[in-house]
């Protein structure tokens, strides 16, 4: 079963949120994926100025892992590591998560560019993840 790792990266190169689909995978994989995602941030930052779209499609790959990205208007980067190339699902996933993220932003108790600790957000992202990636 292919693994999807989703990360939200803040403006200052700081991870805000991280999740993996399916959820119960080995710990070791997670940090390897973080390394890949971290490296791809450079390319996201390059791509983001070349298009008007928020969804940047697959921007990078390493071995069998592909990295898709979605950059919000506030330059918050959504990164998804995946093995399967299923662009539609990924795009829909990003759009749905973006909706959720906007809702989080509207929360007066959430500070912009700070880690997202909301359990409701987490639960909904999981739901969206299972919807598209299982």
């Amino acid at each position: 079963m292919s693994i999807y790792t989703f990360l939200i990266i803040g403006k200052n190169d700081n991870p805000l949120y991280e999740i993996e689909f399916p959820v119960n995978t080995q710990k070791k994989e997670t940090y390897a994926h973080q390394y890949i995602a971290h490296g791809s941030l450079d390319i996201v930052e390059e791509y983001v100025w070349k298009t008007n779209n928020m969804y940047l499609k697959i921007i990078d790959k390493f071995n069998k892992n592909h990295i898709s990205s979605f950059v919000t208007a506030g330059h918050i980067k959504f990164m998804l590591l995946h093995e399967k190339k299923d662009e539609d699902a990924i795009k829909n996933f990003f759009v749905d998560v973006h909706d959720l993220y906007l809702k989080i932003l509207l929360n007066p108790f959430y500070e912009y560019n700070k880690p997202i600790t909301s359990t409701a957000f987490d639960a909904r992202v999981r739901k969206i993840g299972t919807k598209y990636f299982s």
Partner: protein
């Protein structure tokens, strides 16, 4: 596999540099760096004879150049594809000799020749003998060994070497010409072409047939294979010739051969040679472009800064084309670019088809490099990703440099995170070779910086790239030209070019693409560079965020690598860093493991290890704050007020209150004293799940020497905050700065810095402070900064004396009775080492609210002269006579108290000092006056730089009093008395004191509590006139515990005051039992009121004017009251002795004198008598009788306005017959008026008045006669009344 591949590689001539003989690595590096600066040989500099013919028809002798690629012998690895990749052949060898070590040059020459023989393809050799000795002759050594003259001037040396290298290159060029012309000449003879090449190269390629050009990829064993090889030969030969043309610096000739080669290779499907030709072609295109730029540079002067095309070609010397040629150039650039892209893609495809992964990766890297130079990062990144994907087919040995190459290319694009990622990949590839732990460690260290772990290292290898400042250029051959500082291993020297040094690392992040252009534009781009450097370095200041998982694993890796290297220092460093930064993320068991590792490895380290220096980190535990504590109040040095400056400053202070002064006063700097213990509060925290034993905790200071007393203790696990007070002493006077604390734990010493506000700061912040000279003591010798928040700067003042004051009450509240007077001693002892030259005692009030409260309850006792703030008094001469007080000496000072009910005690403020040096002795007289906090105002720091600030010490002793009323004046009255009355009382007064004591109770009971002092004047005329009055003092014992013995003392009043108290009562004593009241009577002769009275004293609170102005009479009365009150208080002393044997007086301040009472003191001006002084008269009912009254003027003046009143009353003494006065008219009748005005009464004349009265009832009537002075409203009664009994 080589790193840093570019298309430039294809046109550079490989030259090996060899160390010959004995030479130190440093010298070798120095000499080679000189040689490496001369990597471009202009063809124009090569001298050729006119007759010389060349096969390079289109070579540009003006703009062309040859590029030398110097390779250290150690890093050279011979390629088996030299035939295919001509640029990998070694054409020249340069030997480097240090003459100082290699004395015998003949031997050296032989050594060099032997070394050259190892490179069969070498066509030109040069041996440079540096630093020749005087005795070393260069004659007869042959042309190859050249002595380089001693010259300290680098410029001259380079010039000399350039000349040599031009000759050296000329040889190589000749060889190229020879090869190309020979092959051209024999182009008709197909059998001889390859021979010349193969012979020249001497390669070991597996060629079965000399006429064929083959590589290890070709198998030419079978017949059809040989046949195919023959077909392919023409294309391959042309490719080789093109390569030589390219190496010779003639791109146009190269095009000719490459075109033929490309066509031929395509036709014969000679894929790898097709790829090679494409590479060569691209290189030739780039070379051509460079030459054109050079050409334009010669022809056009102005340079345009807006160059967008910057090919990474090596010969490109950083100049742009003129504005006129821009459009043409652009078109050409685009054309070339398309061509290059097509060729590169064809090359990649060709290699791919041929499954030559190494060639494919090489060209991909070159192509990526080209993209980068064209600022096409995404394309470059895609290529690099592809390169990495196909690298699986390579061996581990090759994959490591590939990963590094990819990383470096990413770095040159400004993709630091990708760079770090690939470095980490390379490090992991290395793990297959256990001997490479050091390399792995270095790679991880470099990578770690870009995982936001840069604060882990102060001077780590990770900084090497940034120091070189440029990006793409660092890894292309162009770098060699621009900066000779970078060696192939990536190490750096400081000799980079000036323009290069201006680049700061952070610029790379913002302008990665422009960087190269700016570098190449040279001086023309300087303003732009300056602009860039002004941009705040946000990337460095950026706070650290997240990525804890990545960081944790990087540090785990670093720890395991260090464990393999047995590097205890680094293990400790990483563990400490990890624990400090990620203790929240690390599980408790893991923390314990780390702690065990840390304690194990730290034992192996020497004691001198300082974590700040060796680990660029603080140790364990954490420090929250360090706050110096001021000395206790009684030891705190305070600024001695300067008498002269005070007077001037007082004059300056125009306003009583100024808000500015207030702010100044609030600044309170900590002052410590030399050689005296002072303390600092340190707050630590241990958030870890293990206990930390602190071996020592001491203070880190700057400024004057300071001895800190170490402290050793344990902080338990998960301690959020722990306060520890450490102490020390300053060894001499001067400025002192608290930099932080030293903590030794786990054998490691750390210096924890603090900011000026006492908060713990990171090392970087500390270095910032150091850079700002925050720890320079000269800067604040005179405290110039009024910043209140700065607490770490402390002034240490010279030794001050130490005074000890013993107070018998121990500072407790004194319980006293009002009016009590007592004395106790203060013992002053000098317990310091310095003589005390001045002791000044002042009194301060300490509780205003209490004072107000007590005062309001006892207002009656407060007189105008009283100061409600002063409770104590002493003789200041005693202090002065004991000064200077030498060390160890002591003296007693009696303190006297006279209590008044409104007093609450005082705070003793004892200021003392010694005059150090040549200071003049100040007056040390204590003035017992209130100094409304004047001493505390002296705390304000004197900012005047010129004045010498002296210090003194202050002891404050609060001494509160609780005053209760013991014997208290309960009430006061004045009654008339005649001398007869006084005489009649004399039997009681003549009693002896002892008897009186016994009989006092009986007396008081029999005479209605009237204890009487009678006059001792025996000759008092016995009359019944009211020429005396009695002052009645009701004394109440307010206590239930004490019995008081009261004695009175009357002062003899002088004649002037004309007041006579009748007897001195010094011997008389009365007992006042608890809760009882006795009356003390003082007889006083009535005298005329004094004529002259002292002025009325102004009321307290003189600013408040009375609302109503007093009338003349009221004022007179007030003055009178004031006079008599003073008189009584001064002259009547009622002393008491309590059962506790304490002594005091009864305070008479609360006596109430009214105008009426005052009249009683005045002697009567008129005498009113009934005829014959008749007291009783019997009258018949219904019969007229006359009451005769005479009024006599006793004064010498005429009295005007007298009114005589005759008041009949029913005798009250007869009970049961009480009737109201209204009924009186029914009981008696009279002829005339009861009120008779007397208009004038002459002196000593008598006015007789007669009133006829008739009585209607049998009653006892009493007639009272009074005379009212109309003017003063004084009512003078008759001495007695007349009682008329009705029969």
């Amino acid at each position: 596999m080589e790193m840093n591949l570019t298309f430039t590689e294809n046109r550079s001539i490989k030259v090996i540099i060899l160390p010959i003989g004995d030479i130190s690595p440093e010298k070798y590096k120095e000499y080679t760096s000189l040689i490496k600066t001369i990597n471009i040989i202009e063809l124009s500099s090569i001298t050729r004879s006119q007759n010389e013919s060349t096969p390079f028809e289109k070579i540009s002798w003006v703009d062309g150049s040859m590029l030398l690629n110097f390779v250290d012998a150690s890093s050279y690895q011979r390629s088996e594809y030299e035939e295919f990749q001509t640029y990998k052949k070694v054409f020249g060898v340069i030997g480097v000799v240090d003459c100082k070590k290699s004395k015998d040059l003949m031997v050296t020459k032989k050594l060099f020749e032997q070394a050259v023989n190892q490179y069969p393809s070498c066509v030109s050799s040069l041996c440079c003998a540096f630093d020749p000795m005087d005795d070393q002759q260069d004659l007869g050594l042959g042309a190859n060994l050249i002595m380089i003259p001693n010259n300290s001037d680098r410029k001259h040396l380079i010039f000399y070497l350039t000349t040599l290298l031009i000759d050296f290159s000329h040889m190589i060029l000749k060889h190229f010409e020879k090869v190309v012309s020979e092959s051209d000449a024999s182009s008709g003879n197909t059998s001889g072409i390859g021979l010349s090449i193969n012979t020249a190269s001497g390669s070991s390629t597996t060629s079965t047939n000399n006429s064929l050009i083959t590589t290890p990829l070709d198998s030419v064993k079978l017949w059809d294979e040989i046949n195919r090889a023959k077909k392919r030969k023409a294309g391959r030969l042309n490719k080789c010739k093109g390569d030589y043309c390219l190496l010779a610096g003639s791109p146009l000739d190269a095009f000719k051969y490459y075109d033929q080669s490309l066509e031929s290779c395509r036709n014969n499907s000679d894929l790898e040679w097709l790829g090679g030709s494409c590479e060569g072609y691209i290189s030739a295109v780039l070379l051509k472009r460079n030459q054109e730029y050079n050409q334009q540079n010669h022809s056009t002067k102005p340079l345009s800064p807006n160059i967008t095309f910057t090919p990474g070609g090596p010969g490109y010397s950083g100049v742009g084309s003129g504005p006129n040629s821009m459009s043409a150039t652009d078109i050409q650039i685009q054309g070339d670019d398309t061509l290059i892209k097509d060729l590169a893609n064809e090359a990649i495809q060709s290699y791919n088809k041929r499954k030559t992964v190494r060639f494919e990766i090489d060209v991909i890297l070159k192509f990526a490099n080209y993209h980068i130079s064209m600022d096409r990062k995404i394309e470059a990144s895609e290529l690099l990703t592809n390169a990495n994907d196909i690298s699986w087919e390579l061996t581990f040995h090759d994959r490591i440099p590939l990963a590094c190459s990819i990383g470096l290319l990413y770095y040159s694009m400004g993709f630091k995170r990708k760079f770090a990622f690939y470095l980490r990949e390379a490090a992991f590839l290395f793990t297959t070779k256990p001997e490479n732990w050091e390399k792995i460690s270095n790679l991880l260290l470099i990578a770690s910086k870009y995982y936001q772990l840069d604060d882990l290292f102060a001077n780590s290898p990770s900084t090497f790239l940034d120091e070189n400042t440029n990006k793409t250029l660092s890894f292309t051959l162009n770098q060699i030209k621009k900066s000779n500082s970078v060696t192939r291993s990536g190490s750096s020297s400081n000799k980079s070019s000036p323009s290069g040094q201006q680049f700061q690392p952070q610029n790379n992040q913002f302008y990665p693409s422009n960087q190269q252009q700016q570098q190449q534009q040279g001086s023309s781009s300087k303003p732009l560079i300056k602009f860039n450097t002004n941009i705040p370095d946000l990337s460095i200041r950026k706070p650290k965020y997240g990525w804890t998982t990545i960081q944790r694993y990087i540090i785990y890796n670093l720890i395991s690598v260090s464990s393999n290297l047995n590097d205890s220092l680094n293990i400790c460093k990483y563990i400490i860093y990890l624990l400090r930064t990620q203790y929240k993320q690390i599980a408790q068991t893991k923390q314990h493991e780390f702690q065990v590792d840390l304690s194990h490895h730290s034992k192996a380290l020497p004691l001198s290890i300082n974590t700040n220096v060796h680990m660029n980190s603080l140790g364990l535990p954490f420090i929250t704050k360090v706050i110096p504590m001021s000395l206790p109040e009684h030891l705190e040095p305070i600024v001695r007020p300067n008498t002269s400056s005070n007077s001037t400053s007082a004059r300056d202070k125009f306003f009583i209150y100024s808000p500015y002064e207030k702010t100044e006063q609030s600044i309170k700097k900590i002052i410590w004293t030399e050689q005296e213990e002072c303390s600092v509060l340190v707050t630590l925290s241990n958030p870890f799940s293990f206990d930390i034993f602190i071996q020592s905790l001491t203070l880190s200071t700057a400024g004057v020497p300071f001895e800190s007393y170490p402290l050793s203790f344990k902080i338990l696990s998960l301690t959020e905050s722990m306060d520890i007070v450490i102490s020390g002493r300053a060894l001499c006077a001067g400025p002192l700065i608290i930099k932080g604390v030293f903590i030794r734990s786990y054998n490691l010493l750390s210096e924890y810095p603090i900011n000026p506000q006492g908060r713990a700061i990171s090392l970087n912040e500390y270095y910032d402070l150091v850079r700002k000279d925050a720890y320079k003591v000269e800067a604040w010798e005179v405290p110039v900064e009024p910043d209140e928040t700065v607490i770490n700067k402390i002034k240490v003042v010279p030794r001050l004396p130490l005074l000890n004051v013993y107070v018998p009450t121990m500072g407790n509240t004194l319980n006293l009775f009002a009016g009590e007077s007592c004395t106790f001693n203060f013992k002053f002892e000098n317990i310091g080492c310095v003589p005390i030259e001045s002791i000044i005692i002042t009194l301060n009030e300490f509780d205003k609210t209490l004072k107000k409260k007590v005062l309001s309850q006892n207002e009656a006792y407060l007189t105008d002269q009283d100061d409600e703030s002063i409770s104590y008094s002493w003789n200041s001469n005693i202090i002065q006579s004991n000064l200077p007080l030498l060390p160890g000496k002591s003296f007693n000072l009696p303190i006297e108290i006279f209590t008044k009910p409104f007093l609450i005690g005082n705070q003793f403020v004892i200021n003392y000092y010694s005059n150090n040096g040549n200071q003049t002795n100040s007056i040390s007289v204590s003035i017992p006056s209130i100094e409304d906090n004047s001493t505390t105002t002296a705390l304000s720091v004197n900012n005047n730089a010129n004045s010498i600030v002296n210090y003194q010490r202050k002891i404050s002793i609060p001494l509160q009093m609780f005053i209760t009323h013991g014997p208290k004046l309960h009430s006061f009255d004045i009654v008339y008395a005649s001398s007869k009355t006084i005489k009649s009382l004399s039997p009681y007064l003549l009693e002896k004191p002892t008897q009186q004591q016994e009989g006092s109770t009986s007396l008081s009971s029999s005479l209605s509590n009237l204890s009487i002092n009678s006059s001792g004047y025996l000759e008092i005329p016995e009359n019944i006139y009211n020429d005396y009055c009695l002052l009645l003092f009701d004394i109440e014992n307010c206590t239930s515990t004490h019995t008081f013995t009261i004695s009175s003392q009357l002062n003899n009043v002088d004649n002037h005051q004309k007041v006579l108290f009748e007897k001195s009562m010094s011997e008389c004593k009365f007992i006042l039992s608890p809760n009882s009241i006795i009356t003390i009577v003082v007889p006083m002769k009535r005298e005329a009121l004094p004529e002259s009275l002292p002025m009325l004293r102004q009321a307290r609170g003189q600013y408040i004017k009375p609302k109503k102005k007093l009338t003349e009479y009221e004022e007179y009365m007030n003055r009178l009251i004031q006079y008599y009150k003073d008189l009584f208080i001064q002259n009547i002393r009622l002393n008491w002795t309590s059962s506790d044997n304490t002594k005091g007086i009864i305070l008479l301040n609360n006596i109430k004198l009214t105008p009426k009472r005052l009249q009683k003191l005045n002697n009567d001006s008129v005498l009113i008598e009934f005829k014959d002084n008749q007291l009783l008269k019997n009258v018949q009912l219904g019969e007229f009788t006359s009451i005769e009254v005479s009024v006599k003027n006793l004064t010498n003046q005429v009295i005007n306005g007298l009114v005589l009143h005759i008041q009949p009353t029913i005798d009250q003494q007869l009970p049961n017959k009480l009737q109201s006065l209204n009924d009186l008219s029914k009981k008696l009748g009279y002829v005339g008026s009861l009120t008779t005005p007397i208009s004038e009464l002459q002196p000593n004349s008598t006015y007789n008045h007669k009133l006829d009265v008739i009585f209607f009832e049998r009653e006892s009537f009493k007639f009272i006669v009074t005379c009212e002075l109309f003017k003063t409203k004084q009512i003078i009664p008759s001495t007695h009344s007349l009682t008329i009994m009705i029969n």
